[in-house]
C-alpha cells in the first residue's frame, strides 16, 4: 500500500521543478506577461525534452503513457512556478479527447506531434462546463464549424480542440479559413484566453465522441489538473509567506515571531495539507476508481478553489504592503489561482454537480 507519490513521481516533479526554476523564473514569467508575441516556446520545448507534453500520450504514439496522477504532479509544478505553458489545453485536454474519441489515424497523426512538443492545441471547451449566451458551436454535415466559443485556452496554438453544442469534439487548424481568434485580456497574465469565431471553418470530427460521457471525462481530468495547478500555486504562496515572515522585521522582531502571523501561516498549512491528499486521490481515482472519479474531480476542483482563494488572500496579507506591489510578483500566483477558480466551472456550480453525481440534486 502506498498513498502518495512514487519515487518516479518524485523524480518527475523534481525534474520539472528544476527546469522551471532555471527557465521559467519570475523574470521569464514577467516577460511572457508583458509581450503578447511571446508564446513561451523556449519553455514548452524545454518541457517537451523532459517529456511533459508526452505524459498522457500512450507509448504506442510516442508518449510515455503515464497516469492522471503523474499529469497532476506536473501541473503542481507548473502552478508553483506560475509557468506559462499550453499544458492544460494541449497535453491534457487534447490528449484526453484524442485518446477517448480519436480514431487510430487521428491518434497517429496528432499524438506523436503533441508528445514531442511540435504541435500545440488550444482548447475551446468552456461551453461544456457552462455555456454563455451567444456562445455555441454548430457542426454542419459538410464538416464545417459555425458559431462562437468563449474562453478558449491557449489561443496562439497551431490547432484547436472544439466542443460543439452536442458535446462532440472537433479539431480545427488555426490557420484554416473561417477561424478567427480575439484575445480576451484577463487578470492572470501567465495564461491567455480568447474568443474563437468559426464561420464555416473546415474541421475534423473526433468520431468517438458520440458518447456524451466522453466529453465529461475530459472535463473531469481537466478539473483535476486545474486543481493541481492551484495546489502548486498555493503551496508556493505559503512557502513565500513563511520565508518572508522569517526575514521581515517589525517592532524589532521578525514578523514570523508574532502569534497572529504564525497563526495565519498555520491556517494556510492546515488547509493545504488535506487538500493535497484530496487532489492526489482525485487524480488516482480518474484511472483506478471509476465509480468515484467524477465526484472526486468535482470535490478537488471546488475545494481547491476555496483553499486557493483563502491562501491567496492570506499569503498576500502576511507580505503586508509588499504583497500588494508588483515588486515580489506575488500577485502572479494570486491571479493564477483566481483564474483556476473560474475555468471549467466555479465552485458553486461544481458543488451542485457533485450533488447531482450522487443523486442528491
Amino acid at each position: 500500500m502506498e498513498f502518495g507519490l512514487s519515487e518516479e513521481q518524485g523524480l518527475l516533479r523534481e525534474s520539472v521543478d528544476r527546469f522551471l526554476d532555471d527557465h521559467a523564473d519570475l523574470d521569464r514569467v514577467r516577460k511572457y506577461a508583458d509581450d503578447p508575441h511571446d508564446r513561451g516556446d523556449d519553455i514548452w520545448s524545454g518541457l517537451a525534452e523532459l517529456g511533459v507534453p508526452a505524459v498522457l500520450v500512450p507509448e504506442t504514439h510516442g508518449g510515455i503513457g503515464l497516469t492522471a496522477l503523474d499529469a497532476a504532479v506536473v501541473a503542481e509544478s507548473l502552478g508553483a512556478h506560475a509557468a506559462p505553458a499550453p499544458y492544460l489545453s494541449t497535453a491534457v485536454l487534447a490528449v484526453a479527447a484524442l485518446r477517448l474519441a480519436g480514431d487510430e489515424a487521428q491518434q497517429g497523426a496528432y499524438l506523436p506531434r503533441i508528445a514531442d512538443g511540435s504541435l500545440r492545441i488550444g482548447a475551446a471547451v468552456s461551453e461544456l462546463s457552462g455555456a454563455r449566451q451567444g456562445a455555441a458551436v454548430e457542426a454542419r454535415d459538410d464538416g464545417t464549424l459555425h458559431g462562437k466559443a468563449l474562453f478558449v485556452l491557449d489561443p496562439d496554438a497551431d490547432a484547436f480542440l472544439v466542443a460543439d453544442g452536442t458535446r462532440r469534439f472537433h479539431l480545427v487548424q488555426a490557420d484554416a479559413g473561417g477561424v478567427e481568434t480575439t484575445l480576451l485580456p484577463q487578470v492572470d497574465r501567465t495564461r491567455r484566453i480568447a474568443e474563437l469565431a468559426l464561420s464555416g471553418a473546415p474541421s475534423e470530427p473526433l468520431r468517438g465522441s458520440g458518447d456524451p460521457d466522453v466529453a465529461l471525462q475530459v472535463i473531469d481530468l481537466g478539473r483535476v489538473i486545474v486543481a493541481a495547478d492551484t495546489l502548486g500555486a498555493a503551496q508556493e504562496m505559503l512557502d513565500q509567506a513563511v520565508a518572508y515572515a522569517k526575514q521581515r522585521e517589525q517592532f524589532n522582531r521578525v514578523i514570523a515571531s508574532f502569534q497572529a502571523v504564525k497563526h495565519l501561516c498555520a491556517e494556510m498549512a492546515a488547509e493545504i495539507e488535506p487538500a493535497r491528499a484530496l487532489l492526489w486521490y482525485a487524480a488516482h481515482a480518474l484511472d483506478e476508481v471509476p465509480d468515484e472519479a467524477r465526484l472526486m474531480a468535482c470535490h478537488a476542483k471546488a475545494h481547491l478553489a476555496e483553499v486557493g482563494q483563502f491562501v491567496g488572500k492570506t499569503a498576500t496579507i502576511v507580505h503586508g504592503g509588499m504583497g500588494f506591489t508588483d515588486l515580489l510578483g506575488l500577485h502572479y500566483w494570486f491571479k493564477r489561482m483566481g483564474f483556476n477558480r473560474q475555468v471549467l466551472g466555479g465552485p458553486e456550480r461544481v458543488r451542485e454537480e457533485a450533488a447531482r453525481v450522487q443523486g442528491l440534486a
Binding site: 468552456s126 457552462g130 455555456a131 454563455r132 449566451q133 468563449l150 474562453f151 480575439t182 484575445l183 480576451l184 485580456p185 484577463q186 487578470v187 492572470d188 484566453i193 474568443e195 521581515r248 522585521e249 517589525q250 517592532f251 524589532n252 522582531r253 515571531s257 508574532f258 497572529a260 502571523v261 495565519l264 482563494q309 488572500k313 498576500t316 496579507i317 503586508g320 504592503g321 509588499m322 504583497g323 500588494f324 506591489t325 508588483d326 515588486l327 506575488l330 500577485h331 494570486f334 491571479k335 483566481g338 483564474f339 477558480r341 473560474q342 475555468v343 466551472g345 466555479g346 465552485p347 458553486e348 456550480r349 458543488r351 451542485e352
Partner: protein, 399 residues
C-alpha cells in the same frame, strides 16, 4: 431613534440640490487637478460653503460653523447627482487640518489658501519600505546643517508624489531619542534637488503609488510643523481621519445594488445568477453585512452630532470590517460572472470596466494598508476592549 435630519436640514438639502441643478454645467469633467475648470469649480464651492466649509475666511475657506449633518448632506447630494465635490487629496484632507491645529500663523497663511484653491498640491511622506505597520520605526533622517535640514532616505506608498508640488514628511531628526520621540514633521517642495520619484506598480498593474528617494535634500530649517521630535504627535493628531474614509458604506451599498443588477443579466447554461440559490444566499449574507455597516456608520455619525462618546468600539472596527466586506463583495461579483469575471484590461466582454477584479484586489490592498487587519485587531482589543499590550519582548543585546 430619529433618522430624520430635521426641517432646517431639509431646507439645507434643498439649497444644495438647487445649487447643483443651477451650476452643474460648470462642474469639471475629468480634467486634471490643476486645470482651470477644477479650480473655478473649487472656488465656487468654497463661496457657497460646499467645500472648505469650516475653514476660516482668512485662510481661504468659507468660514462656516462646523455642522456634521450639513457636511454629510453635501456629500450625499453631490454623490447622488454624480457631480464632483470639493477638492480632496492629502493636502486638503490631512495637511490643512494638521496646520489648523498645530501650524504657526505664518504656516497657515502661507500654505492653506493655495492648497484649498488647488494651486498647491501635496503628497504625504509617512510610510517607509522598512517600516510597514511599525510606522514609528522610520529611518529617513534629517540632520541640521546650518539653517537647513539635510534629508536622506526613502518613502513608499506616496500616492500623488508625481503630481505634487510639496510633501509633508516624517523624518528622524533625533537619532538618540526613543523611537516615537525622534521624529519631526517637515514640509518641502518636491522639486528640491535630490528627490527621485519611482512609480510603484501594484497588483492591479496600475501605478497608484510611488517610492520617493531623498539624497542630501536640503530644506529650510523653519519648514517644520511643531517642535523637533514632535512629528509623531503632529502626524497622529489627524491620522484617525484617514481610517474613517476607507470602505465608505454608501459606496458598498451602491456596489451591492449593482451586483444585484449584474446577477439579473449574467447567465450560465441559461440560468441567471440571481436564480442560482447558492449565489443568492451569498448575496443576502453580504447585503446584511453592508446594511449593518451602514447602520454602524449612522450610529457613529449620530453620536458625533450629539456629542456622545459611546461609539468608540463602533469606530475602531470600521476599517477592519469595511475593507474585508468590500473584498468579499467584489469577490462575489467575480464569482457570479465566472470566466467573464476574469476579464481585465481593455477588451471585449468587460463588465463594469473590469471594476470587480480591480476592486477585489484594491480592497485587499486596503485590508493591508493603513494598518493591516492584524494591527486593527490589536487596536480593537487594546483600545476597545482594554486588553493589555503584548509584553515587551526580551531583545537580545545588540539588536
Amino acid at each position: 431613534m430619529d433618522l430624520s435630519y430635521g426641517p432646517q436640514y431639509d431646507a439645507f438639502r434643498q439649497e444644495v440640490r438647487d445649487f447643483i441643478a443651477t451650476h452643474r454645467d460648470q462642474a469639471p469633467r475629468g480634467q486634471g487637478i490643476r486645470s482651470e475648470p477644477v479650480k473655478r469649480w473649487q472656488k465656487l464651492l468654497i463661496e457657497h460653503g460646499y467645500a472648505a466649509r469650516t475653514i476660516p475666511v482668512e485662510y481661504g475657506g468659507h468660514g462656516g460653523e462646523p455642522d456634521i449633518l450639513k457636511a454629510r448632506i453635501i456629500g450625499e447630494e453631490f454623490a447622488a447627482a454624480q457631480v464632483p465635490g470639493g477638492l480632496g487629496g492629502q493636502g486638503v484632507s490631512m495637511l490643512v487640518p494638521t496646520l489648523l491645529e498645530l501650524g504657526t500663523e505664518e504656516q497657515k497663511r502661507e500654505f492653506i489658501p493655495p492648497t484649498l484653491a488647488g494651486d498647491m498640491v501635496w503628497c504625504q511622506g509617512y510610510s517607509e519600505p522598512g517600516a510597514g505597520s511599525d510606522l514609528a520605526s522610520l529611518r529617513t533622517s534629517a540632520v541640521l546643517d546650518g539653517d537647513e535640514w539635510v534629508i536622506n532616505g526613502s518613502k513608499i506608498w506616496t500616492s500623488t508624489a508625481h503630481l505634487a508640488d510639496w510633501i509633508f514628511c516624517l523624518v528622524r531628526t533625533e537619532p538618540d531619542a526613543k523611537k516615537h520621540q525622534g521624529i519631526s514633521f517637515l514640509l518641502f517642495r518636491m522639486d528640491t534637488p535630490g528627490i527621485e520619484i519611482r512609480p510603484l506598480v501594484d497588483m492591479t498593474m496600475a501605478s497608484n503609488f510611488n517610492e520617493v528617494f531623498f539624497t542630501d535634500v536640503r530644506v529650510p530649517k523653519d519648514q517644520i510643523v511643531g517642535q523637533r521630535g514632535e512629528g509623531w504627535y503632529v502626524a497622529n493628531a489627524i491620522l484617525g481621519h484617514e481610517r474613517d474614509s476607507l470602505g465608505d458604506p454608501n459606496a458598498s451599498l451602491a456596489r451591492v445594488n449593482r451586483l444585484v443588477e449584474l446577477m439579473k443579466t449574467e447567465t450560465v447554461d441559461g440560468q441567471r445568477a440571481i436564480d442560482n440559490p447558492a449565489f443568492r444566499d451569498r448575496l443576502i449574507k453580504i447585503q446584511a453585512r453592508v446594511t449593518a455597516l451602514r447602520m454602524n456608520d449612522m450610529r457613529i455619525l449620530s453620536s458625533r452630532i450629539n456629542g456622545r462618546g459611546d461609539t468608540g468600539l463602533a469606530r475602531l472596527i470600521t476599517k477592519l470590517q469595511a475593507t474585508e466586506l468590500r473584498h468579499d463583495l467584489e469577490g462575489l461579483g467575480i464569482d457570479i460572472m465566472g470566466e467573464f469575471g476574469l476579464m481585465f484590461g481593455k477588451g471585449p466582454h468587460l463588465r463594469d470596466q473590469g471594476s470587480w477584479q480591480n476592486h477585489y484586489m484594491y480592497f485587499l490592498g486596503l485590508i493591508i494598508g493603513g494598518g493591516t487587519s492584524q494591527i486593527q485587531k490589536n487596536i480593537i482589543s487594546e483600545r476597545g476592549l482594554g486588553m493589555p499590550r503584548e509584553p515587551k519582548a526580551v531583545v537580545p543585546a545588540g539588536s
